[in-house]
């Protein structure tokens, strides 16, 4: 059954997928740092969505929907418009290429991302292993 993007159920499912993925565990075994995925409103969807993930050494310790960006102080913030996020989750756009072309903005410890690029890629892959339905 498809899960609504941006819902708590969706955040929980991503967390569950990451925790059951041996590939993610291996790629992110040294990863330390929590993260916001911030979906900015655009022409296709007018709401802002912030999903928080607590990622630590290959585990997703928790995930939740955040209303106020100041609620937490994550190590990373990945921001992008709704349409780009949707294309990434549909596997129509490569997440790293989206970051490198500025369509996704990344804020945080770049040195860690450069040392563990596969952790970031497998994190995104964890969002694409189940069917997502979008609110637009």
């Amino acid at each position: 059954m498809a899960i609504l993007f941006g819902s708590q159920e969706w955040a929980d499912k991503v967390c569950e997928e990451l925790n059951s993925s041996q590939i993610y565990k291996e790629a992110a075994k040294n990863w330390e740092g929590d993260m916001y995925i911030i979906v900015e409103p655009d022409a296709t969807f007018k709401q802002r969505i912030i999903v928080y993930f607590d990622l630590w050494h290959g585990d997703c310790r928790s995930a939740c929907i955040v209303k106020d960006e100041n609620e937490k102080s994550p190590k990373y913030r990945i921001c992008g418009p709704f349409a780009i996020m949707k294309q990434i989750l549909d596997k129509k756009v490569d997440s790293v290429q989206a970051m490198m072309t500025g369509r996704l903005k990344v804020k945080g410890d770049m040195a860690q991302i450069m040392r563990m690029p596969r952790a970031a890629v497998e994190f995104v892959n964890g969002m694409t292993t189940f069917e997502t339905v979008f609110p637009d």
Binding site: Q97, T101, G102, R103, V106, M116, P117
Partner: protein, 388 residues
């Protein structure tokens, strides 16, 4: 959306004379002592002087250049105030020059902070970068990547940003003619690996495919000749061109698993880069296997390889690459590199960790698990074709 980044490329006999047409007042030549002793720096200075450009030489770039060397070069650049940076050498020299240029133009940004997510570096306002390769392998004259070593932290830094690309690449075969046979063969295998991986990775694209195929053809045709007779200038020119063509190809689409595992092998056992990635290339073709069978068939077709009925193109291509490597006396297994098996065993965790963390792996058409990486390396050690 993606970019295709390419410098102005001046190639062929007498390409070096392009320097005499440059506009500028002061050039900072980045090189190493070997290149100076070969007389190449004098040739460069002579051409620059014809354009009325004075030169200062920094010849302290070491193999696997360090951040510390970059900082030393930048201090001299700040003293001289050049409007041209001219790198004359192999990949290490060109990487160091690229990093120096960034720090010189952007003193607020340390070289180690360069990453693919920074935009608007604003390079080019203060100086232009000219790269003149003296080996036919790395393609660094065409790439927007830098590999530096932080000697304080004992770690390698892979720094990428498309804005750090060279302004002009001068690809003059006369400067490659001094390469000894062993260097010619290992760097040539690097060219082949760049082209095959860029053509088969998940970021392959319409702008790079043709370049990669042409580079593969050039390597198969001319590398054995360049190794056999270093003064065969047709072969030298074709291989020099192939290196830059493959460089443009892979910088715009990336390399994959042979580079991820080859970087690891190089870091742990100090195997020359081209030799490491070239040795591992046929194993990675076998590992990726059916997922890219159409790609292996395309390459095989371009090379006019005969694919017997019922046989996989990937296996035919892997065999052809081993045949090429064997003909130029490149090793076919890790054992042939002289690595003792107990050293392989004791280094296995580090080899796997390095490979799994390597950025090249993100675009591999098939990404190995930790267990598969170990099995892969053990097969490559024994010279066994990958069958899993």
């Amino acid at each position: 959306m993606w970019y295709f980044v390419v410098p102005e490329v001046v190639f062929g006999q007498d390409a070096l004379t392009r320097l005499a047409e440059l506009q500028g007042k002061s050039a900072f030549i980045v090189t190493d002592k070997n290149i100076v002793s070969l007389g190449f720096v004098d040739k460069v200075k002579e051409q620059l002087s014809q354009a009325g450009i004075k030169s200062n030489v920094f010849d302290e770039v070491e193999p696997d250049p360090s951040l510390q060397t970059v900082k030393k070069g930048v201090a001299l650049m700040n003293q001289y105030g050049p409007d041209l940076v001219v790198a004359v050498g192999g990949g290490s020299v060109m990487d160091a020059a690229k990093a120096m240029r960034v720090e010189y133009e952007r003193p607020d940004l340390k070289a180690e902070e360069i990453n693919p997510f920074i935009s608007d570096l604003g390079l080019g306002a203060k100086c232009k970068l000219v790269c003149i390769p003296t080996t036919s392998g790395t393609g660094a004259e065409a790439t927007f990547a830098i590999v530096l070593t932080d000697t304080d932290d004992q770690r390698k830094l892979s720094l990428i940003n498309r804005e750090i690309a060279t302004d002009i690449a001068i690809v003059d075969p006369a400067l490659a003619a001094a390469m000894p046979a062993g260097l010619t063969s290992s760097t040539g295998m690097d060219v082949l690996t760049h082209a095959v991986e860029a053509f088969s990775c998940t970021w392959k694209n319409d702008f790079t495919d043709g370049l990669c195929i042409r580079a593969i053809q050039l390597v198969f045709e001319y590398l054995p000749r360049a190794v056999k007779d270093g003064q065969d200038m047709e072969a030298r020119e074709k291989m020099h061109n192939a290196a830059t063509i493959a460089g443009i190809g892979f910088t715009n689409s990336l390399t994959a698993m042979a580079h991820a595992t080859g970087h690891s092998l190089g870091a742990v056992f100090h195997v020359p880069h081209g030799r490491a990635v070239g040795l591992l290339l046929p194993y990675t073709i076998e590992f990726v296997g059916d997922i890219r069978e159409d790609i292996w068939a395309e390459i095989s077709y371009a090379l006019k390889l005969n694919i017997p009925k019922g046989e996989k193109a990937g296996l035919v291509l892997a065999r052809a690459i081993r045949g090429l490597a064997n003909s130029i006396k490149e090793p076919l297994s890790l054992k042939e590199l002289g690595i003792p098996v107990d050293k392989l065993d004791s280094s296995m965790d580090k080899l796997i960790d390095n490979a799994m963390a390597d950025g090249s792996l993100i675009v591999s058409a098939r990404v190995p698990s930790v267990a598969e990486t170990e099995k892969f390396l053990r097969y490559a050690y024994e010279g066994k074709s990958i069958d899993f």
